[in-house]
Amino acid sequence: MSGFDIIGPGGYGPPQLRPLEPRDLGAQEIGGAQGPLGELSIEGGDEASGGSFADKLEDALSSVSDLRNDVKSKAEALARGEPVELHELMISMGKSDVAFNMMLEVRNKLLNAWDTITRSSV
């Protein structure tokens, strides 16, 4: 091979890469998924993490509402002339948008599940 394959400090060559491990990619452990909606874990009804499914759903809804309030307060501050960065407001709007769409999809899935269960003949 040519002399360009010398690896080491000050030498040319492919960079020394540490092999990626699952934790670098944010892989979740199975059996305790930490998805966007938090502790809606596979075990379900985990008393250690506190609260029932309804409580967790309520927390998720309140965080969506918090994001929306954040957008509102930032927009009002910007309109009043306070030093709010414009990109902060746009990013807050993006976050609120994504969170709302996520909540909508979860709601649709729950409604579909409810329909399926009630329509299934016993």
């Binding site: 934790r23 670098d24 930490q34 998805g35 966007p36 909606l37 938090g38 502790e39 506190g50 609260g51 967790k56 927390d59 998720a60 965080s63 969506v64 994001l67 960065e85 990109h87 902060e88 990013i91 993006g94 976050k95 994504v98 969170a99 769409n101 996520m102 999809e105 649709n108 899935k109 579909n112």
Partner: protein, 148 residues
């Protein structure tokens, strides 16, 4: 109860800090351009060019990996004054700030270098905006993918 939505929006927060840092850099360049003709006076120096350094922020609140803390964005370090170049004296005896021999000290701001830096800052800003757009697009596509 921790905020359920936090993990999803780390990309947004990182890009937010990057955009803030780029805006600050643009402000420093604007300040340099604004003051570049400041020749000082008999008792003070001309304007010395300012520059700033970025620092990596580490996520101390989130989970720590074995190798250290994951990066959580960028922030402005200190604003430095450029002491590597001197003030250039220019012969102009009619200037009010001319010294005894008729020399005026000019600021060490180089116009073309500032314009070039401005272009770089604009491209960095666009790159960060594009990263944010990509991130948001990925999230939206994930949500839409599960629409039945």
């Amino acid at each position: 109860m921790s905020d359920p939505m936090r993990g999803v929006f780390r990309g947004f927060d990182i890009t937010n800090s990057a955009l803030t840092a780029e805006m600050a850099r643009a402000e420093v360049i604007a300040s340099n351009l604004m003051n570049m003709h400041d020749t000082g006076g008999p008792d003070r120096d001309p304007y010395r060019r300012k520059t700033l350094v970025f620092e990596e922020m580490l996520d101390t609140v989130g989970a720590a990996t074995a190798d250290g803390l994951p990066a959580a964005g960028v922030r402005i370090g200190r604003v430095y004054e450029d002491t590597t170049t001197d003030f250039t004296p220019v012969y102009d005896p009619g200037h009010p700030h001319a010294d005894g021999e008729g020399f005026v000290r000019r600021s060490n701001v180089d116009l073309f270098r500032e314009l070039m830096d401005m272009t770089v800052v604009r491209r960095s800003f666009q790159a960060n905006l594009s990263a944010m757009r990509t991130y948001r697009g990925m999230l939206q596509a994930t949500i839409q993918n599960f629409r039945s």
